[in-house]
């Protein structure tokens, strides 16, 4: 998410807007909203983007209030064509470029991107998230959660302590949060993890200090901490006011989707991930060979190495 923030700032957006975008983008997206609905419940599906919006807006406003002068730089958007980079949008105004691609071409490009590059960036982290959720389900005894992590402020502060340094994206954090709720963690505490997890991590904070400055990064961190905990406490009140048990709702996800379609969806995701798996394996083998000093293939491989997880959509870079 940081590259987008850098371009945003270079293009002249003010610090508050950059901060705001840097919070709401990783904390919520169409993909994570969809998976929240699948694995959790409608209340959480709504709460996640709404709280992300408020957190982002508060942080952005705080940034601009505490900043001495709002810069009135000229805005220079990057208008490179997203379909096939056919033009950079400088010598070709958006009005002209509109005529370069048909709607069908655009749809095709979007679908191709969705199931190749986008999923490739996401898949590794998503499967790690699934396995982590599996580990939680198998390893953590429910009594332990009830005793130490049940609800209230201590549980939220614990989630904050885990979520802030942790490197995880919104989609991958969802199965983990669902597994935690099944073990009895309160929905508010799970929300803290879902929001603080993707918005911050150690590497990203370091890089961010370089982009928007140390003071702005501190504001960013404080607002995220205070806002997510406050909304976590509110969310717990909402659940108890409505008399809904998140644990029961999440475990009782008896969707009316037939078994075979669920199976088809899961298999489709696995199939989509196979090319990535092969590429990673080949890349790892090549790296291994290089590491052990064996001469590599005689011709130099000019193909770019596959994107490392650090460059992923979830990444801190």
């Amino acid at each position: 998410m940081l590259p987008a923030a850098v371009t945003l700032q270079k293009q002249g957006a003010n610090k508050g807007a950059v901060t705001s975008f840097m919070i709401s983008t990783p904390e919520s997206g169409i993909d994570s909203i969809a998976i929240t609905y699948a694995l959790m419940d409608p209340i959480m599906t709504v709460a996640r983007p709404v709280v992300a919006f408020f957190t982002a807006a508060v942080a952005g406003v705080a940034e601009n209030l505490l900043e001495k002068s709002g810069s009135d730089k000229q805005v220079h958007p990057d208008l490179t064509c997203p379909v096939d980079q056919c033009c950079d949008g400088i010598n070709c105004r958006p009005e002209d470029h509109k005529r370069h691609h048909s709607v069908a071409e655009k749809l095709g490009a979007g679908v191709r991107y969705a199931f190749t590059d986008f999923w490739n960036d996401l898949a590794g982290w998503f499967f790690i998230g699934l396995l982590a959720a599996g580990l939680i389900a198998v390893l953590i005894p429910e009594e332990m959660v009830k005793t130490y992590l049940g609800s209230g402020l201590p549980a939220m502060l614990f989630m904050l302590a885990v979520g802030i340094p942790l490197y995880i994206c919104a989609t991958a954090s969802t199965p983990i949060a669902a597994a935690l709720i099944l073990k009895g963690v309160s929905p508010g505490a799970a929300l803290v993890f879902l929001l603080a997890g993707p918005a911050t991590n150690v590497a990203a904070l370091t890089v961010m200090a370089g982009i928007i400055g140390k003071r702005a990064t501190a504001i960013y961190l404080v607002v995220i901490a205070v806002s997510t905990v406050a909304f976590g406490l509110i969310l717990d009140q909402v659940y108890s006011a409505l008399g809904v048990s998140a644990q029961a709702v999440v475990s009782g996800t008896a969707t009316n989707i037939p078994e075979w379609t669920e199976m088809a969806g899961a298999l489709a995701l696995v199939l989509l991930s196979l090319p990535l798996l092969f590429r990673k394996t080949r890349w790892a083998m090549r790296a291994g060979r290089r590491f052990f000093g064996r001469p590599t293939a005689s011709r130099t491989d000019t193909r770019p190495a596959p994107a490392s997880p650090a460059e992923s959509v979830c990444g801190p870079t």
Partner: protein, 65 residues
């Protein structure tokens, strides 16, 4: 052995539960990128001190990154 089977079967259950929704989320995200490129967001933000902040927060909600 039993342990890893348990973990993987739990993970598989979650994958089955969310697979279709993820496919849908991917599809919409892909289309969103073509029709609302993160790099061109700044064009929609406009000028001012606080208006761009709210617009950036709002535009960031659907955009996955």
């Amino acid at each position: 052995m039993n342990f890893s089977v348990d973990v993987i079967s739990e993970a598989w259950l979650l994958l089955k539960e969310s697979g279709l929704y993820i496919l849908f989320g991917l599809l919409v995200s892909g289309l969103l990128r073509v029709f609302l490129n993160p790099n061109t967001i700044v064009r929609h933000l406009g000028n001012g001190r606080f208006k761009p902040v709210f617009k950036a927060a709002l535009l960031g909600i659907p955009i996955p990154l």
